[in-house]
């Protein structure tokens, strides 16, 4: 059982849902990312997802594209992000998930990447351009290193296929709430509740839902039908709009606190 599994078990016992917050590592710089992870935990985040910047983030909308570009402009590299996690592990036991497109990992070497993740204290990996059919080699090395392999299911995935995806997923299953790229949306997809209910019927694994969730009301609504809610672009919007590190920490902290409060049900 790694930190992700323990966290979901713990939340389950307490009858709570996971608040999973996403930021791009190194946006605007790695020191801020370090502080942000700790601040988000203090304000109620249960799991933190760190995005690995990539030159061609084709599943991402403009917000995360820009965040990725800012990190790349700062010359943030995958090995720097792994070092950051190592540093964070002296301060926190919050489950940390890396989200990276396949090519940076492939270039690093799948096996070496998995080993380094275990050593530095990464708990799980999401690869948005890797479907289970293509993941055999990755699954082998990830399992050996006790990393959770979190796959995505989409509104366009037939239920039979979601069953298969869930069977390959460990940690949790990531349900993409909308047919589209990442980015905050005012309105949620109307079929989302039905979809989540159907998925909960076919898998025992925790199901977390993300893409487009941008405010506490939406987070609360989704959390009733899932085991966790993932919020990313809405947080990055706040980072982008702040000019100082202090402002970043305050704004993101307040936002995460508001998500948390609404989800635990005041």
């Amino acid at each position: 059982m790694n930190r992700i599994d323990s966290k979901f078990a713990e939340l389950n016992r307490e009858g709570r849902k996971a608040l999973i917050t996403f930021i791009t590592a190194g946006d605007p710089d790695l020191d801020t990312t370090f502080e942000l992870v700790l601040e988000m935990e203090r304000k109620g985040a249960d799991v933190v997802e760190l995005g690995v910047p990539f030159s061609d983030p084709l599943a991402d909308g403009t917000t995360i594209q820009r965040a990725s570009q800012r990190a790349l402009d700062n010359k943030v590299r995958l090995k720097d992000i792994l070092k950051l996690v190592y540093k964070l592990r002296r301060k926190t036991e919050i489950p940390i998930v890396l989200m990276s497109y396949l090519n940076p990992i492939y270039k690093y070497g799948l096996e070496e990447f998995a080993t380094t993740c275990r050593k530095t204290g990464v708990d799980g990996i999401i690869v948005p351009d890797l479907v289970p059919e293509e993941a055999e080699e990755w699954l082998t090395v990830a399992r050996l290193n006790k990393l959770s392999t979190i796959f995505l299911a989409a509104p366009t995935s037939p239920l039979e296929r979601i069953k298969k995806i869930a069977s390959k997923s460990t940690g949790f299953l990531y349900y993409v709430s909308l047919t589209g790229v990442t980015g905050a949306r005012d309105k949620l997809n109307s079929n989302i509740i039905e979809a989540l209910k159907a998925i909960k019927r076919i898998t025992n694994k925790p199901v977390a839902c993300g893409f487009g969730i941008s405010n506490p009301q939406q987070a609360r609504k989704i959390s009733r039908y899932s085991d966790g809610v993932i919020v990313g672009s809405a947080i990055i919007d706040l980072i982008e709009k702040s000019t100082t590190r202090k402002a970043v920490l305050r704004k993101v902290g307040n936002f995460v606190a508001s998500l948390h409060q609404k989800m635990v049900g005041d």
Binding site: Y106, T156, T179
Partner: protein, 391 residues
Amino acid sequence: MENVLPDKSGYFGIFGGKFVPETLMSALKELERVYNRAKRDKSFQDELKYYLSEYGGRPTPLYFARNLTEKLGGAKIYLKREDLCHTGAHKINNTLGQALLAKRMGKRRIIAETGAGQHGVATATVSALLGLECEIYMGTEDIKRQSLNVFKMELLGAKVIPVSSGTKTLKDSINETIRDWVANVRTTHYLLGSCVGPHPYPMMVRDFQSVIGKEVKRQILEKEGRLPDYLIACVGGGSNSLGLFHHFYNDAVKFIGVEAAGLGIKSGRHAAPLYVGEIGILHGSKSYVLHDSDGQILPAHSVAPGLDYPGVGPEHSFYKKTGRADYFVVTDKEALEAFHFFSETEGIIPALEPAHALAYLMKIAKDTNKDEIIVLCLSGRGDKDVEIVKG
């Protein structure tokens, strides 16, 4: 034995596959299913044949380039005149095929990426023909250097959407088209223009383009009574070259692919992933790519916008790895020289993309024998490039 690649999972050896967001998986499976059915369906093949000949202008001539042959003093040189296709390049072979498929799938909206604008124009053309809504993503850098094609696409009723992210060229226009597709996949067909991307695209685009080689085979047998010794074509994503090569896969014919060396391989500003030989994952398939030590995709450079791409089709990667084809590089400067030389020698203004193949031909022709035969794919005409050449 026929070339049966890719395998069921879309692999050419270790290259290819489907590395895409989950949202696209059902659409790719549908496309594969519909395509495989259409491939065996006589009514589809007849319809495609009808449009290729009556509308597209096929078969294109296999022209014996007497002047060029005499000047270069080696093998007999034949040119496959894809520049004479409707819209001025081989791109129409694929866009007709895919647009007919889109109609079969009930998809009324077409999106596509374009670099040089040739694929964009060919897509806008078939969309107009078949009454489909059409939006083309094009990098702002390419919009600047290929303004004539932008105007053409708009005349044809397409909407050209400028892409200003990343390198502002073909690579980023593909990213943006994929994002659009992820959001609108239920109603939209992504009409990809080269043998790149996730399975089934590399296979399907190659099949639609293989009409080139099929005609060449028939024509050269009629003219010479034997197969050629060399096939030469430029390689960006790889569609004109694979279209030429495919029907000769099991014949004793040498395949030569020519990549863009841009300002020179050592300058780092080129578009020669096969030459450099690093394997990675870009735009849905595993193939040779240009990337840095951290796996970030590097910007490509070529004077020919259609070659200005940091990836290449997985089938080419397979050909390189297995030695079935040989790959060489040609710089911007050499391609421009060939552009001029060829225009003056044959009275044909070539596109800058096949000018790369011509430049390589000029280098090797003298080392070939007079009784040998070379077929070069003249994939497009150069009207679009006169502004670039004027500098």
